[in-house]
Amino acid sequence: MRSVSKGVNGKRTLIPVGPFHPLQEEPEFFQLWVEGETVVDMDLRISYNHRGIEELSTRKTFDQVPYLVERVCGICSSTHPLAYIRAVETICGCEVPPRAKYQRTMVTELERIHSHLLWVGLAGHFLGYNTVFMWAWKYREPIMEILEKITGNRCAYANAKIGGVRRDIPNELFDDIVRAVDSCWGPTEMLTNAVLDDPVLHARLVDVATLTHEDAIRYCVTGPTARASGVPIDVRRDDPYDAFDLVDWDVITFPEGDVMAKAKVRLLETFEAIKIVKQAVRDCPNGETDAGVEEVPPGEAIGHVEAPRGETFHYVRSDGGRCPVRHKIRAPSYVNVPSFRASCIGQHVADVTIAMAAVDPCYSCTERMAVTKDSKTGNELMDAKELQELSVQRTRWFEKQLGIEPFDKRWGPKLQELLA
């Protein structure tokens, strides 16, 4: 890679961040054009890691898809299925039992608590404040544990299904949930005070990478990123789902738009999430948890929910069969990441790092498509066929090295048997 390009008066240096993020460990590629320490231009490249989730989704039955889409992202693993389920429920026109609504709310809000605390930790790490990193992740642990207790998993909860929830959370566990979120309140308060009071953190966060109100609207950012720029949007309030219109909570907004505002929004939202969970536990009625949806009629619908990072948007079309014929996913980071061009150009390299983390980007949510090209001819390299051939060659090589029988000979008859 060239280190210096012949840009304006030949002084521009290219600072690559990627193609694999050194800290977030996800595929993204930002090219920062730097003069001295100031970023003068940047190029964003995302979506080169094709995961094929939308295509896979059309090969699963309606009931299997939630298991797939909760693997879109490890952190938003309750909101992606929920958005899909809302879309399918709209097609079916079914009414979800109240107990299921409250239980879904509990899990999504517990997820929001642990996601926001995770971000606080990562933001600390980006600033070299590793103590905050370790502490925030320690305080997030009770939430992960209670999620494991009530759903069976630390992430990928598989709790929501079309028409209700898959497994009822027994009333006996409600006290544990309250205890877990209560144990989180004090540490979150401490972290909030630390962020609000620390002069060094102020120096690094206030007036850094400001995303103005106008830019926030122009780039259509969502979630905490928008709310920190004074755009009061929140799907939970604007188009209430589950129990969000039945409990009392506030949408947190700050007008500043800098990294500090984004941190404050997330920290204060954690308190709101704790409040929501406690109210949901208090108000959760007894009764059915499944509407018993048997069939999905032909039709199309959208479902959107407020993920910790913003609005997650799913579109589902059904032709009355067993599987969706089209399933489109738009993750919040897809709209939040391009806003870097508005917030980061003109900033110091040191500030851009935290600014790019401030929208809490989730590249795994966003990744859609990858094409490898030859840089000289522009021809595509490594298509599926070539990759498959390579992998077959590799297997043959290993078989030869290890002196074992080829795969076909070992498994061929058995496979034929199974297929028959």
Binding site: I15, P16, P22, V34, E37, T131, D198, H348
Partner: protein
């Protein structure tokens, strides 16, 4: 000193400091781990890290200027070795110094930073060049207050630039630290040492999450091990430097050994705690911090020390 004795002192001082540096790094890592609710590594971990690196491949970037890239870590280590040996010898044998040796030690301590800049520039990596420019700015920002702080100690101990006399005067009378200007100068010097060691909040030259490993991005294998060992030596040597200048020197006989050790560990833990309770500053912010905040404080200490000396007030 005879040449033979000098070589012996150099070898003994360097190896001793390296061993002390390994232990100091372990204390640093262990305290950090405990602060962060982690367990931390066993005591031999820093040494094992270096030994393992010694056996690894040295990867040369295609665009690097080979000689400069590989030789600078060694020159940096040599600078650190000479600096610590001088410190040890002048602490343990008060009479052997020469006029101005305090300044020479300061110069020698600047060499690892300079070689880091050269090595990073020779590596041809954009991250490293950004780190090198930061290291350079940082060097310019902390040397001024550190020198003024050193002057405070020199004024307190009779106005000699000989380390032997600075230590001797403190051991006969009271420590530089036992005065208002001494405390101020010590605090200024402590923060400068933090920057010299490249620790948070002044680690922007290698800012892990911004520019990979900054100045060290392209280093691997034995050269990286040499860089690590130089840094471990500095982690041991700079607290000793602070003890020498402000806290009455290091002694290796009788009860003062214990006192020296306690001082050393306190300074080390202080440095570790500073690095664990702060985020990283930006380079322009740290420059402003050193020039507009620490330099005036150091000048104030200098003024107080001069007044105290003029009127014979020891506690000023």
């Amino acid at each position: 000193m005879a040449v033979g004795k000098m070589v012996f002192a150099l070898i003994l001082g360097s190896i001793g400091t390296l061993v002390l540096g390994f232990l100091a790094k372990w204390v640093d890592r262990k305290v950090t781990a405990r602060v962060q609710w982690r367990v931390g590594p066993p005591w031999y971990q820093p040494a094992v890290d270096c030994i393992k690196l010694m056996g690894k491949e040295t990867v040369m970037p295609a665009v690097a200027q080979g000689t400069g890239f590989l030789i600078t870590p060694l020159v940096g280590m040599a600078g650190a070795c000479v600096a610590v040996t001088m410190l040890w010898v002048m602490n343990l044998e008060l009479g052997v110094g020469f006029v101005g040796d305090a300044i020479v030690v300061m110069y020698m301590f600047a060499i690892p930073a300079l070689t880091t800049i050269l090595g990073a520039a020779a590596s041809g990596n954009p991250h490293a060049s950004l780190g090198a420019s930061r290291e350079m700015k940082l060097l310019l920002s902390y040397e001024l207050p550190l020198t003024i702080a050193l002057l405070v100690a020199i004024i307190h101990t009779g106005g000699s630039f000989r380390i032997g006399q600075i230590v001797g005067a403190q051991q006969e009378g009271s420590m530089v630290f036992m005065s208002i200007s001494g405390v101020l100068a010590f605090l200024v010097a402590l923060l400068c040492v933090q920057a010299k060691l490249g620790l948070i909040p002044f680690d922007m030259a290698e800012a892990e999450c911004e520019i990979m490993a900054g100045v060290y991005t392209e280093y691997s294998g034995p050269p990286l091990a040499v860089i690590f060992m130089t840094r471990f030596m500095l982690l041991a040597a700079l607290p000793i430097f602070l003890i020498t200048i402000f806290l009455g020197g290091v002694q290796l006989t009788g009860w003062p050994v214990l006192a020296s050790l306690i001082k050393f560990v306190i300074i080390l833990v202080l440095i570790t705690l500073i690095r664990n309770t702060n985020p990283r500053l930006r380079i322009d912010q740290s420059l402003r911090f050193f020039w507009y905040m620490l330099t005036p404080v150091a000048l104030l200490a200098l003024g107080l020390a001069l007044i105290g000396r003029q009127y014979g007030v020891g506690w000023l």
